[in-house]
Symmetry: C2
Subunit: 375 residues, 2 copies
């Protein structure tokens, strides 16, 4: 394991003042995008990499802030001599529109009303994210992405970039993703949303103006998410049927370790995340359906793409199992795109995309080396 972490983190806000016409039909007149960069854009401007985050991610992908103990959410992947090598690449990661970590979202002030957006913040789609990320790209004066990479919902953004701006993405890495959600995927999201909306502190999404938080609902949503991120096998290995105390209580207090873990995860999450953002991100996932989107065939959408793809899945991922990644592979093969596919044997479930694993990291290194060696 490479423990070296990025030394220089540049955190900034891009104030975009070009109105963004959204897929929903609404328009966002202006917005801020909070982002970080690691490494340096070279003279040829051909080493820029975009990292797209998943449901609960943000712009802080790697390195450690001064005085902070914790590194960014993908620090094992991004850094000096790591697969995404900040000695070579210029890495950009932003908090997505609708987020709650510095980018304009439901917790921001609506400039038209001077009040917090709350539930007035429009629903954002993956297409909208890509359009807003394109604004950031222009703002940073990046002519094209050497590659875009993302896991889960991040992978959907990476894929969508190649459909929306096929000439601006040289390479695309889609990890632990699917081309669209199944009914079961949507069902899990719907229950998460119902948990939040049935919280008496929800107030139709305008809880901030009441000075309360639908934390019970948000915690439940997060607990449910966690089940789908872990595999049955990894839960078994980590917790099994281990008890919290030495004997059974026969009441509704924590009995098994897994219960304690889930309650802790739920409680921790609500201290740093906004319920409206969570709601919005689940809808973004539900809506993503690039083949149906914009009433264009995939052929029409992919037609011009010269992007080279790497698709990665994990054997124990049951949220987006290998078969779902293969759907993307098939779409690309049918369209005669250049695609590599790797199915990694891993016990970590959906979360495996965030974990260090030799095979996984070797595949990433090898693809990125080819990318570096010329395209």
């Amino acid at each position: 394991m490479n423990n070296k972490s990025i030394e220089k983190i540049t955190t900034n806000i891009a104030k975009i003042r070009t109105p963004l016409r959204l897929v929903s039909g609404k328009t966002l007149p202006q917005y801020d995008l909070k982002y970080e960069t690691y490494g340096e854009l070279n003279e040829n401007k051909d080493n820029a990499v975009l990292i797209c985050h998943a449901l609960s991610g943000n712009h802080h992908a790697a390195g450690k802030y001064q005085g902070d103990d914790k590194v960014g959410w993908w620090d094992n992947m991004i850094g000096p001599e790591k697969p995404i090598d900040t000695n070579k690449q210029f890495v950009v990661c932003l908090n997505n529109l609708g987020g709650c970590h510095g980018t304009t979202g439901p917790t921001s002030i609506n400039p038209e009303t001077n009040k917090v957006y709350g539930s007035d913040f429009p629903i954002i789609t993956v297409n909208d994210w890509v359009n807003s990320q394109k604004e950031l790209m222009d703002y940073l004066d990046i002519p094209y992405w050497q590659f875009i990479v993302g896991g889960s919902l991040g992978g959907m953004q990476a894929f969508e970039w190649t459909l929306q701006f096929p000439l601006l993405v040289k390479n695309c890495i889609v990890i632990a993703a699917a081309p669209k959600l199944t009914a079961q995927n949507i069902a899990f999201n719907e229950i998460a949303r119902q948990a939040i909306m049935k919280d008496p502190n929800w107030h139709d999404g305008n809880y901030l103006s009441k000075g309360v938080f639908p934390n019970h609902g948000l915690a439940l949503a997060r607990m449910l998410g966690h089940i789908t991120y872990l595999s049955d096998a990894s839960m078994k290995e980590k917790f099994g049927r281990d008890l919290k105390k030495s004997k059974l209580n026969f009441n509704y207090e924590v009995e098994f370790q897994i219960e304690s873990y889930l309650r802790y995860q739920g409680e921790k999450f609500v201290t740093g995340f906004d319920a409206n953002t969570y709601m919005l991100m689940t809808k973004t996932l539900d809506y993503y359906d690039p083949i149906k989107d914009l009433s264009k065939s995939i052929k029409d959408r992919l037609g011009d793409s010269k992007s080279k793809y790497l698709i990665i899945s994990f054997t124990s991922d049951w949220r987006f199992p290998p078969i779902r990644s293969k759907e993307i592979v098939k779409i690309l093969l049918d369209n005669e795109n250049n695609v590599s596919y790797s199915e990694i044997t891993a016990d970590g479930g959906h979360d495996a995309f965030l974990m260090e694993n030799k095979d996984y990291f070797d595949v990433m290194r090898s693809f990125i080396k080819e990318v570096d060696d010329g395209f």
Copy 2:
């Protein structure tokens, strides 16, 4: 399909006045068991069959009440000339202790306080259920069960009977079950309980005395249950990504058919089920661990059993997949018990055990025919 339904349903209440010492250490001084019988107990008293219900089941397994449109929950399986043939067998099905359909449970009056039990009702284990079912057996003057059958949590009871009263069960059919829950199974139950307990109407389980119901929480719990009862494939076939209306709303109203279905299932469920019973049944599931229970080895527990077993699993069941049923088979094989195993190809997920399926019903008929032909 055989549409003939039972003509005569006998519904009754057994008033058990022998105190029941529970695994939790508590004692239930007295209790009522609501039960139904179909068919007739023959002179030799060798044709009695016990049906054990699952989490949300009850005593009304087959036939139709006068003036009612709906048949019992396992009417396709139980009836004249059906796999469990009421022309031959004397079928008994009870509402389990802790239930909310006529048997003593959290909604009953506690004779010691003359108030509704609510959360004072003790947690019941599978062992306790078997002990209370044994009381019903004595009450009905049944010397032994020709067979006991159950699916899911019902299968655990059937299995447990052969451990607890090995000489009183000639044959045992365990369908879509597991010998104990995994961490993931417990995790789903815990989230269901958290949903109920975080409902402001929960009042520590004493909601009835306040005249309210934690229906939001109970509906969420049921919705979550439904995801685990259906397979990804059956959801895909039934709902896919079909929209409720012709176009997207871009809000938090129902967008996809699957959302509509889940909300409906949640809302329907709360009109006929008690939250404390739901809580209790999930704990009963969590605690079941017959190998660990009572500090006896499985060999010690199974030692005397001459029961013949049929274990059935369904390919698309991801709540208790075939591998979990095979754990039961292995325990029995290691102990040199007589066991048959059948893995049925079915798309219905965990709920497949409630659905008509030729292979499944043929296996049931064939096993039961052997049972009838002599033991």
